[in-house]
């Protein structure tokens, strides 16, 4: 899940000044998370195309909106044909694609995977500068701050340990954005008990043996559409973690940082409200 890029501090500094003064007319994005930022902050006519997963409602928070724009494959070919003024991409993964694009004169702005709410706000500001709408970025960041303040007001005491379990036993790392969200609402990410800083796959028995107080899952009643997903239907998980011990937050809210953060924080606050009753 944390495949969509990583670190961007250096790239951010490099681009701020030159990018701000004249906003590019046509901007494309080939990363699901930069798709979200572009959709939230750019004018519709500025968006030249979005990555392959932007329309997937399972993962993409703004999937409905994304349907109005061309769908890119995420590979170099159609992006070169599209020839946008700027392409937003993740900093990690698809290195060959990014190199190829740069060789063909497509300007690329790389974005890291945000590790905290502050990182997200920095990225929001950066995209606001790029598209020439810093006021929209400020408004979004204000709403993120407001949601974080609401969450802190009703926060738990930080002793409830939560493990975020996805398909095939992927566990969100203690050093990731989800940890930052959990901390904001007063929950501890149990991944730190496992020493998983940037996440990793664990077996079901590790999940059970770690004994987190709650597990965080993406769906309340998952369907075994493949073997990876079938793991979440294992009777052992059902037995130890009945619905009362689960926090259900759709993946679209936790996969990226951006316009979905206020909703993600509100959902988390609601969920602990229910769990503590």
């Amino acid at each position: 899940m944390n495949v969509f890029g990583r670190l961007a501090a250096a790239a951010a500094l490099a681009c701020f000044a030159p990018c701000a003064w004249s906003a590019p007319a046509r901007i494309a994005s080939i990363n699901m998370c930069t798709d979200q930022l572009l959709l939230a902050l750019a004018d519709p006519e500025q968006i030249a195309g979005l990555g392959p997963y932007a329309r997937d409602p399972q993962m993409s928070w703004l999937a409905e909106q994304a349907k109005n724009y061309p769908r890119l494959s995420g590979e170099a070919e159609d992006l070169i044909a599209l020839n946008p003024d700027l392409a937003l991409a993740g900093k990690y993964g698809k290195k060959a694609t990014r190199d190829l694009l740069q060789d063909h004169g497509v300007k690329i702005a790389e974005f890291d995977v945000p590790r905290s709410i502050e990182d997200v706000k920095t990225q929001v500001r950066r995209v606001g500068e790029i598209v020439g709408h810093p006021e929209r970025a400020r408004a979004l960041n204000d709403s993120i701050d407001a949601a974080a303040a609401r969450a802190r007001a009703s926060a738990a005491d930080g002793r409830i340990r939560v493990l975020a379990v996805s398909r095939r036993g992927w566990v969100a790392g203690s050093n990731g954005l989800l940890s930052s969200l959990l901390a904001t609402v007063g929950l501890a990410n149990s991944a730190s008990d496992l020493g998983l800083r940037s996440g990793g796959f664990v077996t079901l028995e590790t999940v059970i043996a770690t004994e987190p107080d709650l597990i965080l899952v993406a769906e309340s009643s998952p369907r075994a559409e493949d073997q990876g997903k079938a793991m979440l239907l294992h009777p052992a998980l059902d037995r130890r973690y009945p619905p009362a011990r689960r926090i259900v937050i759709p993946e679209a809210l936790t996969m990226c940082g951006g316009p979905m953060l206020p909703a993600a924080l509100d959902r988390l606050s609601d969920a602990i409200g229910r769990a503590s009753r």
Binding site: D56, R168, F201, T203, E205, A209, A224, E225, Q227, A236
Partner: protein
């Protein structure tokens, strides 16, 4: 056949040894079963495992042992046994030491069947559509192979046709997952092509066991026919064995057993090749007598491989099919080396 009259003492000793092989193997399987229940990501002492198995101990321990490790162990033992039995039966049917389900492409075809069932929306990963579709594909691939190889069971033809079928089925599996636009296709492909018993549950046991039991019974019921068949097809025919019916029954048995296994574990190769070969020097060349020891050896091999993948430290879980191939492929090469004269004769 081997129960000759007036046997010298040496044969008696061999007969006694043969009689002891199955109990000894059963003991080994029991020990490996216990070991398999005791090994895992959560470090539990053996006493805690035994407590949890019989319903004592903390709930977390009970869940780990009863709901996670027990189904995995039962599947490893029975799937291994099914592969061993299938290998021995196929080698008996074709009177050919290189016959094995995985060289036939049967598991790969079964994996394609299972993936197809999911991709076409016939059922999800926990439905009966999966084993049924896997069995059908395994049956088709085995029929195609037997049709190509024909009655002579030429070694070279067998290996080439099997290679072609398994490559085709593997590619089709990957393609089906890609076309189903599963964003996690790469991980799913590795499961189906390399096999894994990670985090199986009793639902998987329930999916596989009924079909595996039918398959095992179909093969076991014909053990005497294999014995007669080792005299040659004409001789068997004249002794009242309907060879065509025997072929069909063996293919059906292998397809049922291997297809159902693959539907819950993915492709696990080479157990069916190795197990009968390990047993043949111990029980002699009677293919009827080879079935039970081969099944037990298969169970022991897969249990051991599945224990090994959990013991080797790695950041992500090692697929059990990787382990069986690492053991099986050198063994296969050794067999090819040993048979090289016959193979060379076939090309001349």
């Amino acid at each position: 056949m081997s129960a000759t009259t007036g046997a010298p003492p040496a044969t008696d000793r061999a007969g006694l040894g043969r009689a002891l092989i199955s109990p000894a193997l059963a003991g080994l399987v029991a020990v490996l079963t216990l070991a398999s229940l005791s090994v895992g990501a959560a470090k539990l002492p053996v006493s805690a495992v035994v407590d949890a198995l019989f319903g004592a101990g903390s709930e977390a321990h009970r869940v780990i042992v009863q709901d996670i490790r027990l189904p995995r162990t039962l599947l490893a033992a029975t799937i291994g046994a099914m592969h061993g039995l299938s290998g021995a039966a196929l080698q008996g049917l074709l009177r050919n030491p290189l016959a094995a389900p995985s060289l036939f492409g049967a598991p790969q075809a079964a994996a394609f069947g299972a993936v197809l069932a999911i991709a076409t929306g016939l059922g999800d990963a926990l439905s009966f559509a999966l084993p049924l579709s896997a069995i059908l594909m395994a049956f088709l691939s085995a029929c195609i192979l037997v049709a190509i190889v024909g009655r002579e069971s030429n070694l070279l033809l067998l290996i080439l046709a099997g290679l072609a079928l398994s490559s085709l089925a593997g590619a089709a599996t990957a393609l089906a997952l890609n076309l189903a636009s599963n964003p996690f296709a790469a991980l799913e492909i590795s499961f189906w092509l390399l096999g894994s018993l990670d985090d199986r549950s009793f639902r998987h046991v329930l999916l596989a066991w009924p079909f595996m039991a039918c398959g095992a019974w179909l093969l076991w019921a014909r053990r005497d026919a294999f014995r007669v068949l080792s005299l040659g097809e004409e001789a068997a025919q004249s002794l009242g064995v309907n060879v065509t019916a025997l072929r069909l029954q063996v293919i059906l048995g292998v397809a049922l057993g291997v297809g159902a296994s693959v539907a819950v574990s993915g492709t696990i190769g080479f157990i069916g090749l190795v197990a009968p070969h390990l047993m043949r020097p111990l029980v002699g060349h009677d293919p009827g007598r080879l079935l039970a020891p081969s099944a037990l050896a298969g169970a022991a091999l897969l249990l051991a491989a599945d224990i090994a993948v959990r013991l080797i430290p790695s950041s992500s879980s090692i697929k059990v099919g990787v382990m069986t191939a690492l053991i099986g492929v050198p063994f296969f090469l050794y067999l090819v080396f040993r048979e090289r004269l016959r193979l060379g004769g076939a090309t001349a």
